[in-house]
């Protein structure tokens, strides 16, 4: 059985988490395969919650599958699709099914997804959801009513170190800390100097930061991300590196870049760990870990080749 995330976060070990995207449909075989493949290679696995506002199998279902297979799930919860009644109810359900970690997100906007005419909820925001978790833990719901049974979560949130302007983002980061976030997964980072500067600031807070590593699969994707995805900056040197990869070798180069970043973060002790996102390419995560010198169960395999 996997260790609980809070314990790992407190142990001072280099923490490695990854992410599973649930299927569009009820066939969970591929997701189950990814869970089996990754559950013993990382400390915890996130399950995304209708990511990019695209309707999918729910994060709660994915988190239960991970739990049933002996992994450590991190339940992603966005505020886009559920009001405070539904969110609190799902938290109670999650706890009753052994889920102990929640990542609180605002959620992407409805118009960017595949149900463009849906009603957006956003009854709560990410800070208020964090506060709701701490309220439930105190034995009350948001309406002030007593709840039966215990609830306890290791709660996390996200932060975007490359947001422009940055200061409002940092102010929200601090609110999330105040509202009870224990760990943070960052939006994808690619510029190590910028990330070092961010950590000089974030390192002052009593929270664990997991650097977001998103696998680049081609120069085209890297260029698209830096030009179009808010809060992501890919330095030109990385785009060039991918562009110069021999034909058919771009993915391999992307894996190499991701591994290099993980290794650098670990060796410099820049932050508590990494959160690896290989959106749609979950099967290459073990390769990234191996190339980064991260062994099974998150332990370092060996120093050979470092």
């Amino acid at each position: 059985m996997a260790r609980v995330l809070r314990e790992v976060l407190r142990s001072g070990e280099f923490v490695v988490t990854s992410e599973i995207g649930p299927p569009k449909g009820s066939d969970v075989s591929k997701m189950s395969h990814h869970i089996e493949m990754l559950k013993d290679k990382v400390h915890a696995l996130n399950v995304t919650d209708n990511q990019s506002s695209v309707m999918r199998y729910p994060s709660l279902g994915g988190a239960i599958l991970i739990k049933e297979r002996g992994g450590e799930p991190i339940l992603q919860m966005t505020c886009r699709d559920r009001n405070r009644l539904a969110l609190q109810g799902d938290l109670l359900f999650a706890y009753s099914r052994g889920i102990r970690n929640v990542l609180c997100l605002t959620g992407d906007a409805v118009p960017v997804g595949d149900h463009k005419t849906a009603k957006s909820v956003f009854d709560l925001d990410s800070t208020q959801l964090l506060r709701a978790i701490r309220t439930l833990e105190s034995g009350k719901d948001m309406g002030g009513n007593t709840i039966e049974g215990k609830v306890e979560f290791c709660a996390g949130a996200i932060v975007t170190p490359e947001a422009r302007p940055l200061e409002p983002q940092l102010m929200k980061f601090e609110k999330k800390v105040d509202c009870g976030a224990e760990f943070f997964q960052t939006q994808a980072i690619y510029d190590m100097d910028n990330f070092r500067r961010f950590m000089e600031y974030a390192g002052r807070f009593p929270v664990k930061i997991l650097a977001g590593i998103v696998l680049l699969t081609s120069a085209k994707m890297a260029k698209y991300m830096t030009e179009n995805v808010p809060g992501i900056f890919v330095p030109q040197t990385l785009i060039d590196e991918l562009a110069q990869a021999p034909k058919g070798q771009a993915l391999k180069k992307g894996i190499e870049i991701a591994a290099r970043m993980v290794r650098a973060i670990k060796e410099e002790g820049l932050c508590a760990g990494v959160h690896i996102m290989a959106i749609g390419r979950e099967e290459v995560v073990p390769e990234i870990l191996q190339a980064a010198g991260i062994g099974f169960n998150g332990h370092k395999a060996s120093d050979a080749g470092t």
Binding site: D123, A132, P165
Partner: protein, 221 residues
């Protein structure tokens, strides 16, 4: 000045709504829909032309000065004979106008416009939604800019991760409200207001539908 911002429904939808009703009386408004070129005199005449081309009989038309005003009743009464000849009223006012007309008459009303939002004129021809009448005004802590309305997600505690160099993740033509709020508060040396945690909002201050009876006598005395 606040304005009701509308856009015309596609003609096909209007025709579908009219269905079998052949005899149609058209009503426009001299205020908001005239300004927006969606339901003024010119648009009413254009609609008349289009309906005639599709074989409808236009029994008459009328552009009411301010359709949402209670004086509308008089304008309608004067045109009652022609309306009585009709099977429906096709209305090129905003939805406030449609409902005002509907209160005074008992004819089938068919809206030819979609009402988008109540907007504030920001510049010539530029209207923005600035308040959705939430019942718990937060403007004092947000530099006078409303995040409930101007932030796509109505967030109260600062920007989401989609904030993009001052623009919102849903549309590069729309400002990120939280960048505007930040800049305004920074200029005023009041960034501490933005650091304050805003707890979950009361969305039931006045449960829908809003209804208020002011005690006119007391306030007048």
């Amino acid at each position: 000045m606040i304005r009701s911002i509308t856009k015309q429904k596609p003609l096909a939808e209007v025709l579908e709504l009219l269905g079998e009703m052949e005899r149609v009386f058209i009503i426009g408004c001299g205020t908001c829909t005239t300004m927006a070129h969606t339901g003024g005199q010119a648009e009413v005449l254009a609609m008349k032309q289009k309906l005639v081309e599709t074989g409808k009989v236009v029994t008459g038309f009328l552009v009411i000065p301010v359709a949402c005003d209670n004086l509308t009743e008089e304008a309608l009464q004067q045109n009652l004979p022609a309306m009585k000849e009709s099977q429906s009223l096709l209305i090129l006012t905003c939805a406030f106008g449609v409902q005002t007309i509907n209160r005074f008459l008992d004819f089938p009303v068919i809206p030819a416009l979609d009402t988008l939002f109540i907007g504030k004129e920001i510049g010539p021809g530029l209207f923005e939604e600035v308040c959705i009448q939430c019942g718990g005004c937060i403007l004092g802590e947000t530099g006078g800019i409303c995040p409930v309305t101007s932030c796509h997600k109505g967030l109260l505690n600062g920007p989401c991760g989609g904030t993009n160099n001052g623009k919102c993740e849903i549309d590069r033509n729309k400002d990120c409200a939280w960048t505007l709020i930040y800049e305004r508060l920074q200029k005023q040396g009041r960034l501490s207001a933005m650091r304050k945690f805003q707890s979950a909002k009361n969305y039931q201050v006045e449960p829908k539908p809003g209804k208020t009876l002011f005690e006119l006598e007391r306030s007048g005395s």
